[in-house]
Symmetry: C2
Subunit: 431 residues, 2 copies
């Protein structure tokens, strides 16, 4: 397992000196005293981040406060080398250094991350720079091979690991909470029903699923809606798991899993569905995806794409892109429309479930923390910290509105066999 | 009244000969016999329109059929001059010639229009050409003055005329039919409640409405949701009607109507709403509209824009743009997002009510036909025919999916005081 995840632990360890913490909580490294330039750099960095209410505690215990307001959180930088890396590129290096234990948060991680995210957003930071970068930046092309590597890196780190903190259906996408106090189990089933209702599935119909994870939605559709499903995924371990589980549940012949790219989909179907794959497609491939949907959807077909998105175009966080989701890009709704408009798919319904994803991630982090001993047995400490940061950071970004979650339902141009209203989505006990 | 509508009746009348119809239904004009070139031109035009199942009956009674399939409808062109104009520019001239009674439809107008619209759509006609034209075409700028002229042309033709065929609330926008058999009256009230629920209006809140028509939604909000409303409209007659009616209903102080452009909105509000105005804004003004919403919405504010739209960018029908709605442009959803994304408004909900607009228009046309004697007393025959064509043509375009109706609900970036789900829209008896 470890061999497969070397990328995640390639951050150089901190110099030995940094682990020598004295009883007053000071780090007694020999990286010299803090200069006026250091303090100035720290101040500029905090300002650049929108002035979060955060004290930056340097390696000798001295702290730098934001220009305005009272600090409510403290972050410790354990050595001068870490400090310079952080100042140079906070977006990437915060994750790198936190993972390597060269940055530490006093108190709870989540409120700290929310404070930092909210400050950036409120100051409107990142907007112009990001917009400019967007045109300069050329994301790695998610070719068939590259896509397979990206997906392998994240999803093939072991089914057992994901089983520790996902629900029993192994849904690794935003759940739908009918009420905020619903359990994760209830909410993941409710999400599947919400999707099936939006697609107006009828017994005997055929569905193609692009990016099926561990296959839970496909099984649910076949079992509860009487449809047959062809589900595509390029993660070897997920497909193996999905096939085995469908066999055990007696769904052979009703659900078929293909270890293949969405670009390999063949056949024509009554419904196209994709839950949590679009993030991995990359915006340059959206028109091509539209063409694939056009090719595989019957004249009266319906479609649904469920994806993380944004309220305006922006780049993925550099650390997440490097360490967690290579090749990922959460699009704005405007960017998503480049899938639909060139092929004249009519958008019937868009629902934004942003706060449901924050809630889902809270449940995942809670379970992850409960299972952390087992995770520590399976992986090295850098992995354990990196995943904690990723889950907590995701809660923060959905909570402050940096990320959105869009469910977009669509049909072909001029298809009049569409639901009259959306009331059927909210009728009790139909599913 | 007539003086104000000269633009609508400026089509030159047909030569006298055309009204001499013999007993076999032939038009005995003296515009010469039909040549091989005429037949060829007629065939090319039908082909260019996607080959609708329509026979084109020429001035001597001879008919030209589409290349393939059986004809189910017949259209008569009464003279050679009309024929050449139609061939040269069917999109504009069909309306012009129909209005001038130089083209006639055998049988019902609506099924004929649907047949023609559907053929164009199914053949994918207009797409590439329109996309190319879109970049060449510079729509007239909807400056403050021009906007006022455009609105005057359509909405100031007399409140009495609209009262003949609109519902008692005088809602001249797509209704919301809880079930397809609801009456127009029920559906217009249901639309207002649907909008108010989407906006989560609370008693004591303030609302600004951009483009308020005869003021029905503003009155409904004040009366049933306990809010105060400032409503903007540049149609003199509509504002006069709205003020008088609010006074009669005792809503003074709770609803205020301004005869002013949306660009003149001042103040800050809990909700921004615009139902059926965006079509008149013009896509080049969308970012400016976004700036106005940004300026007038409180931090926790919500907004809703209800507009005719398209499933991809395309020009307005030339005849409608010339005779009915000058300066109008129904945008695609992607184009609508240029209002929201630059200002980081998060789209919470998009609902497509296309078939509800077809139904609304059916109800309007039915009432229009019942009131046609009164309309004929008020206006000249060209006006009567033009409005019939506009209403029937609109039914056809919504039915075949050439036009969409989008309701877009939005909030500021990171606003977490948003409804948890949309179930509250579908709870009985809440409003």
């Amino acid at each position: 397992m470890r061999g497969e995840n070397e990328k995640l632990v390639s951050v150089p360890p901190a110099p030995q000196a940094h682990s020598q913490i004295d009883t007053r909580g000071r780090y007694e490294g020999s990286w010299g005293r803090v200069s006026a330039l250091d303090r100035w750099l720290a101040g500029r960095m905090l300002e650049g981040l929108g002035g979060p209410s955060v004290d930056l505690v340097l390696w000798n215990g001295e702290s730098v406060s934001p220009p305005r307001g009272e600090s409510v959180r403290r972050v410790r930088v354990r050595d001068r080398g870490a400090f310079y890396r952080l100042v140079a590129n906070p977006e990437l290096e915060f994750g790198e250094l936190f993972t390597a234990n060269r940055i530490d948060i006093e108190g709870e991680l989540l409120p700290f991350l929310e404070t930092v995210c909210r400050a950036r957003v409120q100051a409107g930071r990142g907007g112009l720079t990001k917009a400019a970068l967007r045109w300069l930046y050329r994301p790695r092309k998610n070719t068939l091979d590259r896509a397979r590597q990206n997906i392998h890196q994240h999803y093939d780190i072991g089914n057992e690991f994901y089983q520790l903190w996902l629900d029993p259906q192994m849904a690794y996408t935003c759940a739908y909470y009918p009420t905020p106090d619903a359990t994760l189990e209830v909410a993941q089933i409710a999400k599947m029903d919400h999707v099936c209702r939006k697609l107006c599935l009828q017994p005997g119909e055929t569905v193609v699923e692009a990016g099926c994870g561990w296959g839970g939605l496909a099984r649910h559709m076949a079992k509860h809606y009487g449809v047959t499903v062809k589900a595509y995924n390029i993660s070897k371990q997920q497909v193996a798991y999905a096939r085995e589980r469908a066999r055990k549940e007696g769904l052979e012949g009703r659900v078929e899993y293909f270890e293949a790219d969405y670009r390999d989909i063949t056949g024509r179907f009554d419904a196209f569905v994709s839950v949590g794959m679009l993030e991995h497609v990359g915006r340059t491939y959206f028109p091509e995806l539209g063409g694939i949907i056009d090719r595989c959807l019957k004249p009266d077909g319906r479609g649904l794409i469920h994806s993380i998105g944004r309220d305006r175009p922006a780049l993925m966080n550099a650390w997440i892109e490097k360490r967690i989701f290579s090749g990922a890009y959460p699009p704005s709704l405007g960017e998503m429309l480049t899938i639909f408009e060139p092929r004249r798919f009519a958008v019937l319904d868009v629902e934004n479930l942003r706060l449901h994803y924050a809630k889902t991630l809270e449940h995942w982090l809670e379970r992850y923390d409960l299972a952390v001993d087992r995770v520590t047995e399976m992986f090295d400490p850098a992995f354990v910290r990196a995943w904690r940061l990723y889950l907590a950071g995701s809660i923060a970004t959905f909570t402050v509105g940096e990320l959105q979650l869009f469910q977009v339902t669509f049909a072909r141009h001029g298809n009049n066999r569409i639901p009259w209203t959306r009331a059927h989505l909210y009728e009790a006990g139909e599913a």
